[in-house]
Structure formats: C-alpha cells, structure tokens
Amino acid sequence: MLKKDGVPSPEELEGVKPSQERLEEGPVVIVECMQEIPCDPCYYACPKEAFRPFGDINEKPEIDYEKCNGCSICIANCPGLAIFVLDYNYSEKEGLLKIPYELKPLPEKEEKVIVLNRAGEEIGKGRVVQVLNTKKQDRTAIISIAVPKEILMDARHIRLIRGSTDEG
C-alpha cells in the first residue's frame, strides 16, 4: 500500500490503469499519481490536451485516453517521475515501456538490462530500444525498454547489468 511502504496495491493501481482495450490500441500513458498533492505541470506539458484542466491544483490528474497518443512528452515534465508510457503491441512477444531516468551512467541502445517492479524486485530482463535526453527534458532522460508482454504492467525501473553489484 502506498502510504505504508510506497508500493501501490493492486486496488490502488486499478484506479490509474488505462483499459486493456485501450492498451491494445497503441501507445498510451499511465499516470501513477494517486494522491491529491498541489501539482499541475502534466496538464501544461501535454500537446494533445489529454490531461483534463485542474479545477483545483490538488486534484489528481485525469486523463482522456482517447486523446493520448503516447507521445511521451509528459514523462520528463512530471516532478514526481510518476508517468510512464506503455506500448502493449510493440512486437508479438514484447511490450515497450518508457520510463523517466535520472541516474548515471545512462544505458545504451541495445543494452540488456535487469527489469525491476515497483518494489525494486527483479522480474526479468529487457532490452533498451531508445535513450532520449534532449535539452527540453532538462536532465530527465526517457528510456524505452522492450520487455516481455507479461511483465509490462509490473515493470517500472531498470538496473544496469554492467558493473552491477546486484544487491539492493
């Protein structure tokens, strides 16, 4: 449970997941912001106006998944690093996960990485497909990782294999 240990329970997650149909239609955002806090940059970041305007800045973000095309601009604009983009149909067996990443060294394209879930536990391996770190992102890199479809909904972070001490 989030307030107990920072890991959302399945029930908590239910509230922020796009529907399975929407997932299968193509790239889409998942905004894991489940607490009312005073924050609104996501709304201003979205070129598609997929985030509903905030009436009160403390409201949780509400997303119109029909407007979202998974463009990923919001990822680096979220101060809480709580936004991810999922492409369920990336390939036959793999889904594509895009995460914000503010660590050094950055992974490289084609690099194999350990995939972690929301509790930091290893749940498989993934392959880095793209590393984006433009000036606009202001030092929050966006890493795209191809992961087995089965773990796409649980995968939320990566650990590099090179130089990894594998504790954690």
Binding site: G6, P41, G120
Partner: protein, 356 residues
C-alpha cells in the same frame, strides 16, 4: 548606520521573492544572507519542484535559485549582503549583522524575517558520533560541494526530505540501506516514496533507531520495529552496516530574531514549533515586522515564494508605496488554492490558530 525601507533577513525563496516584489513597488531593500550565496534551501535541491506551473513547478530547485539571483543582481534597489548574519534587533529599531569581520548597523522602516528553519534532532545512543548528519548537511556536502557523505546510508524519516535526500544519494552513486520511519505511514508525497522504492530501497514504517554503532565514527546502526506507542517490539532489533546515519526528522522555525523583537509567539505542532502570530498580510504583532516562508510555519518552497511576495508587497504598501489591491488578492488566492488539498490540511489548521 544604514537607512532603508525594508530589511530582509534570509535569501531563501521567501526572502528573494519578497525583495523583488518590494523593490518593484518602489521600496529600497537591504537583503542579508548568512550563506555566501543566494537561494537558501533551493541551491541543494536537484529535483523538479511540485506546485503550480504558474509559479515554478517543474523547475529544479537549483535553477529556481539561479533565476531569482539573476533578477536580484540586476535590481538596483536591492542591496545584497552575503556572508552577513543578522544578530539582533533592538528597541530603537536597529538591526545588527556580522559581516566580514565587522558589525553592520541598519535602521529599516520595515523588516521581514525570512530566516527559514533548522533541523530537528532525535535522541538515541551515540547520536553525537561522527557520521550522524542532518539531512541538510548531507545535501550540502554532496550537492553543493560534490563530496560523498558516505558509502552506505541509513535514512531516518520518510517525510519529503527523507525521501528526496535518499533519491539524491542514489543519484550521487551512494547506497541507501533503508529509510526507517517511526509512524505507520509515509509522511512525504507517495510519488517520492514510489520512485525510491522501485530503485530497491526499502521503506520500513514502524521502525526507529536505537543506537549508532562505532567508536570514533559510525560503522552501523541498531534499528528496531516499534508499536503504535513507539515501544520497541522485542526480538525485532537488528544491526545494519552503514557508515552514515542521515536524520530527516523534521524542521523547526528559526525564530530567534522574532522572539528578540518581542513578537507574540505561539506553539503550533502543525507549523513545526513556535511561530509568530500574524495577520493576513503576514505582519506580526510588532508593527512593521513581517514574516514569510518556513519561519512562519514549515511548509514548502512554492508557498514560501508566495508568502514572500505577499509580505514584500504588504510592507511596501504599509510605507505608502502604490500597490494594486488586485495583486495582493491574487497572491492570497494562489496561496489558498495551494493549501486547499488534503496535504495542506495541517497547514490550514495551524494557520487558523495563529492568524489574527
């Protein structure tokens, strides 16, 4: 003796915002800052800020500090003294400060205290051992001076500061053994907790530290699970191997000058300790003495900026400078909406108690 319209003590977000607003309204400002740089807490904060995009949300604290400093330096009506520690405020309205080995004397028409806060300490065995640091010190060492505070850290406290500094430690390549938290809940924003959790750092609620282990410096810590009354649960004690224990157990307002100036003070647990009674324009019970930021109640940077604006502009108005009422109303409105949510509840409660 220097004369000025407004003397501001502290150049954190509150003091900086106040200086700009007051100067824009036409006031002459003297800004005193103990550190050698402007920005207060902001200069250590590498993360993007929350709050409203209309203010600075989405910008990193370090960049907000630069943004303000540049504007302040350009402004001819603001005289800045860095490395200047305000020492005392006397009955005749004179403010003194220690500044490069000498004493500055200032007689301002109005004064704003924006001195921020200091860190709280908690009792445990050996809490004076080298290697037990406040979270602010850890941040300063690693983010301002680029020196690693240790190799492996135990973080005490899962409020926003404990969570954010843990994240910053990981960014600096330093391991975090765990974050321990005495209460049964994460006090900081859940998104901060989640981002450190998925990196593999455990957050142990209902846990506390009993002892720092080591002779000359920290070599470990003894931690334990506790019940709702903070009583250790037998058999749950364990040792962790760390060379740094970082305390992020809360802040309390740095209000000495306000006590000295005779401002009416009141204890407010929600606001972090003793804070001055104030009116809705942030004037204290002493006429012409204003407050803004953490010294007025521990909150965050966006509210510190807004309070700074409000106090700066109110002080200017008090001295007869032309100020648009609309502008003041707008700032108050922004503050109100920032505090309107559930995480602002304790602030609303605290303010209800000290606002007259």
């Amino acid at each position: 003796m220097r004369q000025t319209d407004l003397a501001i003590i502290g150049a954190g977000p509150a003091g900086l915002a106040a200086a700009l607003e007051a100067a824009t309204a036409g006031a002459k400002v003297i800004l005193l800052e103990r550190d050698e740089w402007l920005g207060g807490q902001l200069v250590k904060q590498t993360h993007q800020f929350f709050g409203s995009k209309k203010e600075f949300a989405g910008m990193r604290g370090i960049d907000i500090a630069t943004h303000f400093s540049e504007q302040i330096e350009k402004n001819k009506d603001i005289e800045v003294f860095t490395g200047a520690t305000a020492l005392g405020y006397y009955e005749d309205g004179v403010l003194t400060a220690a500044y490069s080995g000498r004493m500055l004397k200032i007689k301002p028409k109005t004064m704003l205290v924006a001195s921020g806060a200091m860190e709280k300490m908690i009792p445990f065995n050996n809490n004076d051992l080298p290697g037990v640091y406040g979270a602010g010190a850890v941040q300063t060492l690693m983010n301002v001076y680029g020196v690693a505070p240790g190799k492996r850290v135990l973080m005490v406290g899962a409020g926003n500061i404990g969570l954010i500094v843990s994240y910053q430690l990981m960014q600096a390549g330093i391991e975090v053994e765990a974050i321990i938290e005495g209460s049964s809940q994460v006090g900081g924003y859940w998104v901060h907790a989640s981002k450190i959790r998925r990196m593999g750092v455990p957050i142990l609620t209902n846990h506390t530290i009993l002892k720092a282990i080591g002779e000359e410096k920290v070599e470990g810590a003894l931690i334990t699970e506790i019940d709702e009354n903070w009583k250790p649960l037998e058999g749950t004690e364990r040792e962790v191997s760390v060379d740094n224990i970082c305390l992020a157990v809360g802040l309390s307002p740095l209000a000495e000058l306000l006590w000295q100036a005779g401002c009416q003070m009141e204890f407010s647990p929600q606001l972090g300790g003793y804070v001055p009674v104030r009116d809705e324009d942030l004037e204290t019970s002493q006429e012409g003495i204003y407050i803004a930021g953490d010294v007025a109640g521990i909150e965050e940077a966006t509210s510190a900026i807004l309070e700074g604006q409000l106090a700066g502009i109110s002080a200017a108005r008090k001295m007869g400078f032309a100020v648009e009422d609309k502008k003041i109303e707008q700032i108050k409105e922004n503050l109100k909406s920032l505090r309107a949510g559930p995480v602002g509840e304790h602030i609303r409660q605290g303010l209800a108690q000290v606002e007259r």
